[in-house]
């Protein structure tokens, strides 16, 4: 018989008899690979889209000069334009406006308008030039004309010749759509108009957002950047295009890495399932394999045969995973957006590109993990002496090899140590390693724990009083704990991960909910139709709102984006009335803030979010300078507060300080408290009746909270999905392990039938065994899961998202899930045992020669 034919026979035979296990293993690998590949594809698409879009905005410039606040004085433009080493300078005013027509349908309907000097832009960003109608070339300079990218035209449903109304603060400006752009980046929503017109129409006279520089040939870019940086001082930022790429990567990094690690967890689960099914399979086929060896198959051939079995499952699972991953990515990009609902990349429509290198990587990862999972049992099977292996009961020597209390202790201990280590490159690498080590350690410890528990239980039982089936089940579990542990592994892994996720997400959600209650103390909130509106509300408008009769108290808030580091996303500056004596009334402090006495009179107090401490080192008591004010003004970090809204960092300060330092007396938001006796509805109608009432977005606090929680749930959509997958894989694993295990014990059941147990009794005994085991698995899984959730909550989250949270355990949900898993496991054991107990008793015993 030729080896390939034998190989095929053996493979077919094995798969035919154990379809379920094979399918479960393939599914697990598939999900792991699919998830990893999806996340990779989506993120690559999003980041490359973001970079390409940013690059198209800066064109062929060598260096971009921007201020740390959103705009700066235009006198810098002629200075830079005539600066030595500069060949061309392209001034840009970037305006963010709202689209009132979209306010109902879209949250924060933002359109970016670039004010360009076409004569300067032509040499640096020629793609962004407007294309006017043939007969209206001067529209390029007209002060009522705007040019829209194709994506913007589609979004606004307008064409050349139509007009659009945009809003800035309470003002509405109507512009004529004079044409498209020379070559806009596909999917990018932008508008372009003359820079002089933009300054005038949007009340930004004398202001620029950035200046793009093209350097003269032969000028050393690094040296020039350094020199200009010194010359301009700390309030300006110099960036090159690679900085924007870094910024894009930083924007989604924490989120992306966390998802990738979840994918690895799925793969890990898959590998474990392969491992456990291979262990069971080699045990079950022990005599068969020994026979093959006796008949002349070499160790290497046998090893190859066993690895091939699982390897082929891995190949199948990985291929299916790649296909599913691509499909999922396409669906997710269409329905959730490039950031899976997290909101990092608005205004972009990334295109999905198949990435062959990544596909190969994930394929190899899936297959490799499978082969790795089957390596140990295959090695053991191939290296056993065939003669003893042919004897009954020799499977317990296999299981002895799997008993590794020392490994378990080392893993658990290292895991605990790793949990205490700091992040690497802003990422909780050790936190995740700790979780993996805890999982491995717990599984390695399972046979030992299982034996310990059930032998204790056995000793505690009174043989004369206890049910005979119960006695049999406990005795079995206490003596064959190795075999039981393998069935348990799947339950342990999936249930512990489920518990961990459930506790983490609940803690997070409850913390966010509590936090929302704390940061939204007023009855009503209002702002112009977009957030961080450049104009916001003027002092007159503020006065008008304040003088409404139903308002008891009103807090105005100025919110502006600020860049502290060009390679990091913007932080948010919030200026609002804060009582220095009791900042905790407004700011959700995490620890004691500095008292007014500790703030020296020449410094201005700021209260920073936790992210500011981690990312910028703004520790309490530290004196810092901030770019929106004169650099000589010192600020002192007077407190740290919790912020779940802005993971890139936020700073709060007193509105009066902000106004003194910047001269900006406009505000972006207002928080309103209603007088006792007045109703929210009359207050809202009064606000709506103001001359600028219909340009305001007025929200009841309840709605703000609902919107925030909805956003929260959206960004955890993937986590929920993964949780479901984990449960599914876990349950399938339970089913597969139990049915396989009962089959390996066919001889045992034959013996029990011979000494008088009925079929139904054997079945009940097995069901009981299943229930006891699952119960043990669930308890262990719960403990392990709680441990993992603690790592997620107190280590992974603060390290990757820079916020802390309180622990909340969703008891009811956990109990429900525990019961569900217990029920499913018991049911599976029952179904599987019916098959086992129904076998021919005589034949079953005869097999035992």
């Amino acid at each position: 018989m030729s080896p390939p034919l034998l190989t095929r026979w053996l493979l077919q035979g094995e798969w035919r008899s154990h379809r379920l296990q094979s399918i479960v293993a393939v599914l697990a690998i598939m999900f792991g690979v699919a998830l990893g590949f999806t996340i990779h594809l989506i993120n690559t698409a999003a980041v490359s889209e973001f970079s390409a879009a940013t690059r198209s905005l800066s064109g062929t410039s060598d260096l971009t000069v921007r201020a740390l606040r959103s705009t700066f004085d235009e006198t810098l433009y002629p200075m830079l334009s005539q600066h030595e080493g500069v060949a061309r300078a392209n001034p840009v005013l970037e305006i963010t406006v709202g689209i009132p027509a979209k306010a109902k349908a879209v949250h924060n309907p933002v359109l970016k308008i670039l004010g360009l000097d076409m004569f300067r832009a032509i040499s640096i960003t020629p793609d962004l030039l407007g294309v006017p109608a043939e007969d209206k070339p001067m529209d390029m300079l007209a002060d009522d004309a705007v040019f829209l990218s194709p994506a913007a035209m589609e979004w606004l449903a307008v064409k050349q010749g139509d007009s659009i109304t945009v809003s800035m603060g309470t003002e509405q400006i109507t512009l004529r759509v004079a044409g498209g752009l020379a070559r806009a980046h596909a999917g990018q929503r932008i508008a372009v108009m003359d820079i002089g017109a933009a300054q005038w129409r949007f009340d930004q006279i004398g202001q620029l957002s950035r200046i793009e520089l093209k350097l003269q040939q032969g000028v050393n870019h690094t040296a020039f950047r350094e020199m200009l940086g010194k010359e301009l001082g700390a309030s300006y930022l110099l960036t090159e295009s690679q900085d924007d790429d870094t910024r894009a990567h930083n924007m989604s990094r924490a989120y992306r890495v966390n998802l990738n690690i979840l994918a690895l967890v799925a793969l890990f689960t898959g590998a474990f399932l392969i491992f456990s099914s291979q262990v069971l399979s080699t045990i079950r086929r022990r005599s068969q394999l020994a026979l093959l060896r006796v008949l002349g198959m070499t160790r290497r051939q046998l090893l190859r045969q066993l690895l091939l079995e699982s390897g082929l499952l891995g190949v199948l699972g990985s291929l299916l995973g790649l296909a599913l991953g691509y499909l999922l990515a396409a669906m997710a990009l269409r329905h959730l957006g490039a950031d899976l609902g997290a909101g990092f990349f608005p205004g972009l429509e990334p295109q999905l590109h198949f990435d062959p290198l990544a596909a190969i990587f994930y394929f190899l990862l899936g297959t490799g993990v499978t082969v790795l999972g089957s390596l140990l049992p295959a090695w053991e099977a191939a290296h056993t002496h065939p003669a003893p292996a042919l004897k009954s009961g020799s499977e317990y020597t296999v299981l002895a090899a799997l008993r590794a209390p020392r490994l378990a202790a080392v893993c658990l201990l290292t895991g605990i140590i790793f949990a205490g280590l700091p992040p690497v490159y802003d990422l909780p690498v050790f936190g995740y390693l700790a979780i993996v080590l805890l999982l491995i350690g717990s599984m390695a410890a399972l046979p030992y724990l299982c034996g310990l528990l059930f032998s204790t239980l056995l000793r505690a039982l009174n043989p004369s009083k206890s049910n005979i089936l119960y006695m049999l089940a406990v005795t079995r579990l206490s003596n064959a704990s190795g075999l039981a542990a393998i069935a348990l592994g799947g339950v342990l892994v999936s249930f512990s991960l489920m518990v961990a996720m459930a506790i983490m997400v609940t803690s997070f959600r409850v913390s966010v909910d509590n936090w929302l209650a704390q940061v939204l103390p007023a009855d009503l909130y209002l702002h112009p139709i977009i957030h961080q509106d450049m104009r916001g509300l003027t002092t007159d408008e503020q006065q008008t709102i304040t003088s409404l009769p139903d308002i008891a108290r009103i807090d105005f808030i100025r919110s502006i984006p600020v860049t502290l580091d060009p390679t990091r996303p913007n932080i948010t500056l919030l200026a609002r009335p804060i009582d220095r004596n009791d900042p905790g009334l407004i700011v959700p402090l995490t620890e004691n803030a500095l008292s007014p006495g500790e703030i020296s009179p020449d410094t201005v107090p700021i209260w920073v979010s936790e992210a500011m401490v981690d990312l910028y080192g703004f520790k309490i008591g530290k004196q810092v300078t901030l770019p929106f004010a004169d650099p000589s003004q010192l600020f002192i970090v007077a407190g740290v507060w919790r912020d779940y809204g802005r993971i890139f960092g936020a700073i709060q300060m007193e509105l009066s300080d902000y106004r003194k330092l910047t001269g900006d007396d406009h505000v972006s938001d207002a928080a309103l408290w209603i007088k006792p006796g007045a109703t929210i509805h009359t207050a809202i109608s009064a606000l709506k009746a103001l001359p600028f009432g219909d340009t305001l977005e007025i929200m009841e606090t309840g709605r703000v909270r609902a919107v925030a929680l909805k956003q929260f749930d959206r960004s955890f959509a993937v986590t929920y999905l993964l949780e479901l997958v984990a449960i599914g894989v876990g349950l399938m694993g339970v089913a597969a392990s139990f049915s396989a295990q009962t089959l390996t014990r066919i001889r045992e059941f034959g013996m029990l039938r011979h000494i008088g147990l009925s079929r139904r009794q054997i079945q009940r005994m097995l069901t009981l065994e299943g229930g006891l085991l699952a119960g043990f698995g669930i308890i262990t899984g719960f403990l392990l899961g709680t441990g993992i959730s603690l790592i997620l909550i107190f280590i992974v989250n603060p390290q990757s998202f820079h916020w802390t949270m309180q622990l909340y355990v969703p008891w009811a949900w956990l109990v429900l899930m525990a019961l569900a898993v217990l029920g499913a496991a018991t049911l599976t054991a029952s179904v599987a045992s019916r098959r086992a107990a129904s076998g021919n008793v005589i034949r079953a015993v005869r097999e035992d020669w």
Partner: protein, 356 residues
């Protein structure tokens, strides 16, 4: 008489509802020129230029034609816009070298809105700047220009050797049958040129003779006009000739003018009927397929002038920047068959009619 009448066309037909449209001054007969003020910009007029053309001699004795032009345009934008970026005035500049050794025009152009002292055309005296391109009249009456083009740089100074030459009726120069179709126009022939031209990193000193044209106006070309032919020449005997005709879409003459000033300063003016252009030889551009009458016979009453180009390909194609395509080149001319002098010829409207 320059191609920018094209742009003028754009600006005029631009109509939008402005709260404060620019108020433009008309060109009327009888203006008394005042210098140096009239050397400077006239922002109340729609269009204006400082236009120098001439022949240079390299150290090796080879001829080289050059053109340096600065335009100022008043746009139709709202004067209420207080932004320093408001494009109320545009500055455009063209520079070109005609070197027979290269066989085609080397040229470059710039355009910018005036503002921030990066680009301007000042009043009071000639002082125009567009980034690092400048044209300036000094206190002693010399002109200086500095051009940094992509393929060459020019640093030239021009010293007057003759008085100004007012065109038309004391500087009121008609461009068509309607009196409103006119400009203020004076020339400064026989400017002595000194300076440096550098190409491919190599400097060379040059000397030569140039012609300055100054023109400003608010009116536009006759609606039927397709383009024009224009010639100016510094003659060997110290006289100066300027002649142009405006062609209709059917190739006919809509308007024409010529003036010949002798070395003693006596000027002979020719009526539209006395001036005629007769193509002798045409050249087809390989860039645009346009056919230009590069060798031409001009009659001014009884005198016959024969025009021969320094080289055929002196077409300036700026379609991808300032949009204009025209032929502007160095020429030699004979008077009644005898060599008479050197100058520049401009041929516009041969690619497409100027009704943009």
């Amino acid at each position: 008489m320059r191609y920018l009448w094209i742009l003028l066309g754009w600006l005029i037909f631009q109509s939008s509802l402005l709260s404060a449209p620019p108020v433009l001054a008309p060109v009327v007969p009888g203006k008394i020129f005042e210098f140096p003020d009239d050397h400077g910009a006239h922002p109340d007029f729609r269009i204006e230029w400082w236009y120098v053309t001439g022949w240079l001699e390299t150290p090796t004795g080879d001829p080289l034609g050059f053109q340096v032009t600065f335009f100022r345009l008043t746009t139709q934008t709202d004067r209420d816009n207080p932004s320093h970026f408001a494009p109320h005035q545009l500055i455009i500049a063209h520079a070109a070298l005609s070197d027979p050794a290269i066989g085609r025009l080397q040229h470059d152009q710039r355009i910018a809105r005036s503002g921030f002292n990066l680009a301007y055309a000042r009043t009071g005296n000639a002082d125009v700047k567009l980034d690092d391109w400048t044209f300036l009249r000094t206190a002693d009456g010399d002109y200086q220009t500095n051009i940094k083009a992509d393929d060459f740089t020019m640093k030239l100074s021009f010293t007057p050797s003759q008085p100004l030459m007012l065109q038309g009726e004391n500087g009121f120069s008609r461009k068509g049958p309607k009196t409103a179709q006119a400009s203020y126009y004076y020339s400064e022939p026989h400017l002595q040129v000194n300076g440096t031209i550098s190409r491919q990193g190599k400097d060379m000193s040059v000397t030569g003779t140039a012609w300055l044209d100054r023109e400003w106006s608010s009116e536009y070309l006759d609606p039927d006009a397709a383009g024009w032919d224009w010639v100016s020449a510094n003659l060997n005997d110290g006289s100066a000739l300027m002649a142009f005709q405006i062609r209709g879409k059917d190739g006919s003459k809509i308007w024409a003018y010529a003036a010949l000033r002798d070395a003693s300063g006596r000027v002979q003016f020719f009526t539209p009927e006395q001036v005629s252009f007769h193509p002798v030889r045409t050249w087809r551009s390989t860039h645009t397929q346009a056919v230009y009458p590069v060798a031409t016979r001009i009659r001014t009453d009884k005198i016959e002038w024969q025009i021969t180009p320094l080289m055929d390909d002196q077409e300036l194609d700026s379609r991808d920047s300032t949009r204009a395509v025209y032929w502007e080149g160095a020429i030699t001319l004979t008077r009644d068959g005898k060599p008479a002098g050197r100058g520049y010829m401009e041929l516009t409207g041969y690619v497409q009619p100027l009704t943009m």
